[in-house]
Amino acid sequence: MDPFSILLTLTLIILAQNAVRIVGKSQIHQSIWNLYLRYSNDQQILKLRNLKAESYDVYKQRSNTSAQDEYAKWTKLNRKYDQLQTEIKAVSDQVSQQQQAIEKYLGLAISVTTTLPLWLFRFKYRKQPLFYFPKDTFPSYLEWILSFPSVPQGSIGIMFWILLLNKFVSNLEFIVKTFSTKVEKPVPIVKVEDLSPK
């Protein structure tokens, strides 16, 4: 792999890793699960979807029926609604088990795709310089640190590139988050007794 491809791949992986951290794994899981629920052809999910639609219809009919004027019809609809709710609960339990299994694999996949390549790159391209600094830009001891452990002095290796890019992204995130968050100054509570004349 040429230095440009390594640099680009590493950068994308690090950015992805930080994006997962910022958005949150649970949020990503939920979004993917919602998409799966919408477009999946799984029998259980289809059944759940149909049951929910039917339940909604029955609920609407029951709401439009007067319990006093058409008691028999209302009772029948109510019984049907209860039955549907029981069925929905049973199917939901099965689907939630499926959801847990999918989330488990999804979490594993996210971890593997964002962590494992970095370790592989660290090991395989540990002697590959990513790019060179111009001469005399940094003092020699700093150049030595940046090239640690095994790239030529005056260049930067994978280890320090990962460290510094992570630092850069996390600090930018901190700046944006801090300026976008507003915390109101608390106002001290004054008791009524304190205001009364002595």
């Binding site: 060179y132 111009p134 001469k135 830009t137 460290l163 700046i175």
Partner: protein
């Protein structure tokens, strides 16, 4: 009147105790001692009629006229203190006074006029023991340079309790207000930190623009930079100014280091870390903040160089 022998005295004392116990109320006295006299449950032992046992046993003693001496003013038995009744007048015992009196008795001096009596005396003695003080004892603190007992108590969590009360107040409104105040202070610190980061970011980018725009960067070889040494000089000078001013700022504003890993460690386990190491860790947390800031500056330069090297501009 003949004097009582030791055996007779002991026998009389035993009889007196037995008589008291047989009259009941022993449990009440025990409760007075343990301070449990607030119980609503009835714990009275059914009282027996005044028994003749005590009298008869006493009269069975071989000494003549002993019964009259028991009630007499110069009764030798009455001088022997009753451990069950001593010091109790039906009131709740004051623990501080009890400890003080116990200590004074055990120390073998009872000077009621001394001002350093009671708990302060106790603390003074602890202090002297720990510091290898006036009694000449080779105390625990002799090697360690002395430990203040109050510090010791504080390090065991005493100060944290007081601190928590001060921080969070006592009423729900005060607790809520103080929580909000802490969150607000924390946010203010974060804003300050973010501002410092922005200033550094802008200055480093300006520096790169002024001195680094003529740099030609490469992915494959090290190139010559006409302004390289000037860039380095200005960069290092800026760093020196940033770090020095930040160090003085952190030294005055301790909350600024709250986010560092070492500060978190200190907050969690600070009570169990000896004072010497605690100070070292506090200093280390300051340097951690400085290092983190320096790495951010370096990362700006490196990221800009990487983009320019990758896309050749």
């Amino acid at each position: 009147m003949s004097e009582l022998t030791e055996a007779e005295k002991r026998q009389l004392l035993r009889e007196k105790r037995k008589a008291k116990l047989s009259q009941g109320g022993g449990l009440d006295r025990l409760k007075k001692i343990t301070g449990e006299n607030n119980s609503k449950l009835s714990t009275d032992v059914p009282t027996k009629e005044p028994t003749a046992d005590a009298t008869t046993t006493a009269t069975e003693l071989p000494t003549q006229g002993l019964e009259t001496r028991i009630n007499a003013h110069d009764d030798p038995v009455s001088e022997i203190p009753d451990p069950l009744n001593e010091g109790f007048d039906g009131k709740e015992p004051d623990l501080d006074q009890l400890i003080a009196s116990m200590f004074n008795k055990s120390a073998g001096h009872e000077n009621p006029n001394s001002e350093e009596q009671g708990v302060p005396e106790l603390m003074r003695r602890f202090s002297s023991i720990l510091q290898g003080g006036d009694s000449g004892a080779a105390g625990l603190g002799a090697e360690a340079g002395g430990i203040n007992p109050l510090d010791l108590l504080n390090s065991l969590g005493g100060s944290n309790i007081g601190k928590a009360q001060e921080e969070y107040g006592s009423t729900p409104e005060e607790i809520e207000f103080n929580k909000k105040s802490i969150a607000y202070k924390k946010h203010q610190n974060e804003v300050l930190k973010a501002k410092i980061l922005v200033v550094r970011l802008v200055l480093i980018l300006s520096l790169l623009f002024v001195y680094g725009r003529d740099f030609s960067l490469s992915l494959f070889t090290q190139t010559y930079a006409p302004n390289g040494s000037s860039f380095m000089r200005v960069f290092l000078t800026l760093e020196l100014i940033f770090q020095t001013s930040l160090f003085f700022f952190i030294s005055k504003n301790k909350n600024f280091t709250d986010d560092s890993l070492i500060s978190k460690l200190l907050n969690i386990g600070g009570a169990f870390i000896p004072a010497t190491y605690r100070n070292l860790l506090q200093t280390a947390s300051k340097y951690q903040v400085l290092l983190s800031m320096f790495l951010f500056d370096l990362s700006i330069v490196v990221v800009v160089f990487a983009i320019r090297a990758a896309f050749n501009f």
